[in-house]
Symmetry: C2
Subunit: 307 residues, 2 copies
């Protein structure tokens, strides 16, 4: 690829669609995210409407590019399980009704006549962090994103691991190792799990930020829900570290905001369950913020051009 | 690489060292294992003596080669955790006293003046099966080897995943998901775990083959120990499948001989814990037998020459 060049990157979430140009000036220099804009996903209008909205925002960003000659393709990171073989949506849950089956790559190729590569949103996030963020240059890395749900992404050989269908990195569906037989890891380690377990203990439904605030004020049920979330993720991370021997782990997502109560529980459980040779695993905060999935979607497009 | 060519491959275990030439006649044609010989490891004589024995058997196999001109290097698969950076032994347990720290790659390079690549024994096994065995051509695959212990190997992007230190694939150290907080997966899913749990239930110590025979004769404690081993591995496999989305899993090792009682328990637990989209994961028997680690060690040498 000859510098400079740009990739149009799209980040499709349940509430908004963000789009920007990711511009690469020269080798080794971090790409710049330019002309970012976003629109509401309006997911309830159905998959076809979402697809049209994506085409619209890509057209807008393309029209705004100062240098259209060096546009090499379109990279998409999206909610749902992406079929790695054709860039369609293999499965999306009820947050995106009708998103399952949408031929995202095919539609964008037809609309713009450019190469297109589609990845999962958390996979995009992970790849962005591994290339230019907290895990810059990592060959083996695991990214854990405990937010409302619990997603993840695995970097192996410096690339995002997609697997047979494209579904690799679904760490939330891992069995719950803290309470055997009781749901999956997401049900305890994600924000929704923290809220559900706090409600089960107290009868009160609160949002994650409020539970976190109460934990620091000394509410034992709040502290327990957050510590459990950290502990469950720490035990699971010990298992993944044995599997993958990563250079580092990266954490990202709203649960990370629960701070030291969560982080200390994660760390203690990890050290307790990991073998001594892996005890020093760095667990780093993601560093690219909202740019991560855009950068990762662009990097995935570049990887796809290399073959 | 120009055909034909050969790699000398070594498989270093706790009881014996096997060595052979792995000969590649032409592209796409399975390599042939030739001139195989083996010696007792005599591990109790210490790491230095084992290293000398390896040099000796490699010299013997080299001397026996009809075509010495096309020998491209030496590939080793060995017990212990191999440091991927320098091909030394980062850690070996008491089965191989003094094996920790031995500079295997360095010594063989010095002795023979050829490229050398060193991998873990189960990693070699996994790579052999992924290239020319049950998982031939797989890009993403997990190999599980429940024998006396429980080892594993992960194929990602068609290559063996080694990780930051070289320790990837240590599936036995995964937390025990069947009995939370009670040891690691090896303690229930490996042969040693089956024996220990049978002894705990009955007060009688028996070998795995005998426990297996008793399970088929209707001994409920024997059946339970074997079913538990299969169930624990099946639950763990569901987690790994969510992580890796492999094309298939391969099983190998003495526990596999426990037959349908073990396999049915593994399958039922896997299907119960895996998401529907991954329920059809093929779980295949390894097909190369004792040749797998030799072929894998040779393949790893070839990968190392490609860089």
């Amino acid at each position: 690829m000859e510098y400079p060049f740009s990739v149009i990157a799209v980040d499709v979430g349940g509430t908004k669609i963000a789009c920007a140009a990711v511009r690469y000036e020269s080798a080794g220099e971090p790409p710049v995210v330019e002309g970012k804009r976003s629109v509401a996903t309006c997911a309830q209008e159905g998959g076809e409407a979402v697809l049209e909205r994506i085409v619209g925002i890509v057209a807008d960003v393309r029209a705004s590019l100062a240098d259209q000659a060096h546009l090499v393709g379109i990279g998409v990171g999206t909610a749902g399980r992406v079929d790695a073989r054709d860039g369609s949506i293999a499965y999306a849950n009820e947050i995106m009704p009708g998103w399952t089956g949408r031929p995202v790559a095919e539609r964008l190729k037809a609309a713009f006549g450019l190469p297109v590569a589609v990845l999962g949103d958390v996979q995009s996030h992970a790849l962005g962090e591994a290339r230019w963020g907290a895990a810059r240059g990592a060959q083996t890395c695991i990214v854990m994103a405990p937010g409302t749900g619990l997603g993840g992404g695995i970097i192996a050989g410096g690339r995002i691991l997609r697997g047979a269908h494209g579904f690799a990195g679904e760490i939330g569906a891992t069995p719950n190792t803290l309470h055997a037989g009781d749901g999956n890891l997401e049900s305890v380690a994600a924000g929704s799990g923290i809220e559900a377990r706090y409600e089960a203990a107290t009868g009160t439904h609160l949002g994650g930020a409020e539970i976190s605030a109460r934990a620091y004020e000394g509410d034992p049920a709040a502290r327990e829900a957050i510590e459990n979330a950290g502990r469950a993720l720490g035990i699971a991370l010990a298992g993944w570290a044995n599997m993958l021997d990563p250079e580092m782990a990266v954490v990202s997502g709203s649960v990370v905001k629960a701070g030291p109560i969560w982080r200390d529980a994660l760390h203690a459980a990890y050290v307790e369950h990991a073998p001594g040779v892996l005890a020093e695993l760095p667990v780093l905060d993601a560093s690219l913020g909202d740019a991560a999935p855009l950068v990762g979607a662009a990097e995935n497009l570049l990887d796809s051009l290399e073959g």
